[in-house]
Amino acid sequence: MLAFLARRSLVLLATLFAASLAIFLVLEVLPGDPALLILGLEARDDTLAALRSQMGLDRPAPERYLAWIGGLLAGSSGISHTYSVPVFELIGARLAVTVPLAAIALVLSTVLAVPLGMLAATRRGRMGDYGVMGFSQVGMAIPNFWFAILSILLFAVTLRWFPASGFPGWQAGAGAALWALVLPAFSLALPEAAILARVTRASVLETLGADYVRTARAKGLGERRILWGHVLRNALIPMTTILGLQFAFLVAGSIVVEAVFALPGLGRLIFQAVSQRDLVVVRDVVLLLVAVVVVVNFAVDIAYAMIDPRARRAA
């Protein structure tokens, strides 16, 4: 187990390193001069040179890369070109929108999908099953941003239950802030719920056919107890895996949904930072998103290895 842990940790670090290098190289070739963008039409060459040197853009690339990584390791970030504040501070403020949004979406999709999946499994081949599987197919086919647009049209514009867009901020009170996240969270949750319902149904069906369930039946345990006591517990493993992987998807998926709802989250930040060539912000946010994916994958691998020793060798 220890050897496995060490090996996986090494892979984790190597992946992060390769990713950071890839990010840096892509930003190196990104067209558009941040200094020119700040100074605009009337900028003169000497003014531009002065600003570039102020921003540290005139130093050689390897030096800037090392300064970036060194800074991150030391726990300090650069200063955003556009906002003139430390990048970590900016990211922190945006996470206060994106993380709750993804978390609510995760809870919503679980609450929606698990009972539906179990219903489908226990009603296999009957109307309930068809209904749930149909919902799942439709849910996977609907683009989340279209669902978002339609829900604005229905719930915000026509019924006026929710705000159409924007985020009042947590200082406006938790109620108002959460209220503004309901429609975005639903838009994010729907496709995830559709996938999760399928996974739940499949793993419950598989467990229902297992030996110990037959034994339990033979012992005369009630169907309800078998289902909730044995089957669900065992089916939880693949479901948790999917949930873990989905969290990373949700954070990334929020980019599009935040654009629809004009939410000041991480997705908007990266979008805005790319167009304003605020590369100091772009590289940190992208690396953060990559780190989330890599670490979640790592955690899932470790969890699997703890449950099933064979996985240690296979990985």
């Binding site: 963008l37 700040i38 009337e42 867009s165 004009a262």
Partner: protein, 489 residues
């Protein structure tokens, strides 16, 4: 009829926030919605209009200022004398002015600010404004003398720009995040991504607290106005939504003018656009009214040259190249430029992206095949503006009185006219208003005659605010939201 119908549907549609009870509006506070958040708050270190929209006249002041009609007014300088040769300006400064941090304002601050803006390591975005200045000297604490190396007819106007405001040496380096000026409002707080708050220095100011709220999405701005989250939007970027506000008794709509000449610029150096017949053909192929209707929902004034129609010096040349696809084709044939294929690079604003789609369709009717290439501002500046790597582009030139750009070498039009240069040189040496107007008229006729660009329309400023709010600027001669004269009634 259909317009009315749209207006009704829209007003139903956007007034959704019924549950969000508007906070009781005290008579001395104000919240204004903006599309763009500024990168920082130092107008002397960036070109972003969003900076000036907040700080100009409210927080920072210059020697002169520009009022809502585009006229130069005294500000930190109460009066000035100009020498007979036009080379020396002597400014008499206002008494008893202090910066928000309590330090006193005097002639040394003026020398510091102007020298800082002109310095070699200056990061001022409008350095050419100060190009004619040779020396700035403090004669005594209340008098400043500016010596010019050549006559500059526009000096007083230039000193009224946001980029020429007076800052204090003690706070100049921290103005980006904690601006300190001499204006009637001082900086309070900036919640990034959400708002900047200012408060009045004096208790006599009718508005005591102002919040500048950043709402990037026009449809969200409309919702925030209706819900009472904000009181005003100085320039609503959704012309389609303005119709609904016009029908709403709770709001006032002001359709004002801007300095934004929206043009279809052509690369005059690139074949076949270097042929005047091709440029004229393109001018004939464009239907201005259809572009204004299609892209701006009818808001905007057709123009025929690079000059604001509300300016006294404007010459109406709209009829020079009437919409005539057949004539356009004939001209192209004459120039041997049939089956023309061109690229059209479009920056992000809606006037460009939407307008570009209509332009492409119109040019297609004249047999010109246009490929649309959307670019971000960073790329537009680097490729189109600096690199002049483009055939066609659409952009709004929002600087006031900027026809002089056509006389510049290596400007992105790649237009070179000795005739125009001579006129502009004469203009620079002229201070008599009538003579200036005449020269400006000549310049307009030259650029239109040469069809340097297709002059499409003047951007409208679509202001919407709650009834009872008085003193908001209708027009935008400079990028500013001057609230020093705003009050509730």
């Amino acid at each position: 009829m259909s317009r009315l119908l749209h207006a009704i549907t829209l007003s139903v549609a956007v007034s959704f926030a019924a549950f969000a009870v508007a906070p009781a509006q005290a008579k001395d506070s104000l919240a204004i919605g903006f599309t763009l958040e500024p990168p920082h708050l130092d107008p002397t270190a960036g070109a972003a209009a969003a900076i000036d929209e907040i700080v100009y006249a409210n927080l920072f002041e210059g020697l002169t200022r520009i009022d809502q009609n585009g006229v130069v007014q005294p500000q930190l300088a109460t009066s000035w004398d100009i020498s007979g040769d036009g080379l020396t300006y002597t400014f008499h400064l206002k008494d008893g002015v202090t910066f928000h941090d309590g330090t006193a304002f005097d002639a040394s601050d003026v020398v510091f600010s102007l020298d800082r803006a002109r310095a070699d390591d200056s990061v001022n975005a409008q350095k050419p404004l100060f190009a004619a200045i040779d020396k700035v000297v403090a004669v005594d604490p209340k008098t400043v003398r500016i010596a010019l190396s050549r006559p500059e007819g526009a000096l007083l106007f230039n000193l009224g720009w946001g980029d020429a405001v007076i800052v204090a040496p003690e706070s100049a380096t921290t103005n980006k995040t904690d601006p300190v000026g001499t204006g009637p409002f001082r900086f309070v707080h900036w919640a990034k991504g959400d708002r900047v708050e200012l408060e009045a220095v004096s208790k006599d100011q009718p508005i005591q607290k102002v919040a500048f709220r950043f709402i990037p999405d026009p449809s969200a701005q409309v919702a925030a106005l209706k819900a009472g989250d904000i009181d005003a939007v100085a320039n609503l970027n959704a012309p389609e939504a303005v119709l609904a506000f016009q029908a709403d008794a709770n709001f006032e709509v002001a359709i004002g003018s801007t300095e934004g000449e929206t043009i279809l610029a052509m690369n005059n150096a690139r074949a076949p656009l270097n042929d005047i017949r091709v440029r004229r053909a393109i001018s004939h192929a464009i239907d201005r009214q259809a572009i204004i209707e299609g892209a701006m929902f009818g808001f905007g004034t057709p123009i025929g040259t690079h000059f604001a129609p509300h300016s006294p010096a404007y010459v109406d040349l709209v009829a020079t190249y009437p919409h005539d696809p057949a004539k356009a084709m004939a001209l192209l044939k004459e120039a041997g430029a049939e089956n023309l294929k061109l690229t059209l690079k479009l920056p992000p604003p809606a006037y460009a992206r939407r307008g570009g789609e209509v332009v492409a369709a119109q040019l297609k009717e004249a047999g010109i095949d246009v490929e649309i290439i959307p670019v971000e501002w960073a790329q537009w500046l680097e490729q189109v503006f600096r690199g002049t790597d483009y055939d066609l582009t659409i952009v709004s030139h929002t600087e006031p009185m900027d026809i002089g750009i056509y006389a510049r070498d290596k400007y992105y039009f790649n237009y070179d006219s000795p005739e125009l240069k001579a006129v502009m040189e004469k203009l620079n040496a002229t201070s008599d208003p009538d003579a200036r107007t005449k020269l400006l008229g000549e310049a307009q006729e030259i650029v239109t005659h040469d069809a340097v660009a297709v002059y499409m329309f003047q951007l409208a400023r679509l202001g919407v605010w709650r009834k009872g709010l008085k003193g908001m600027w209708h027009n935008a001669p400079v990028q500013a939201t001057d609230i020093t004269g705003v009050r509730w009634e």
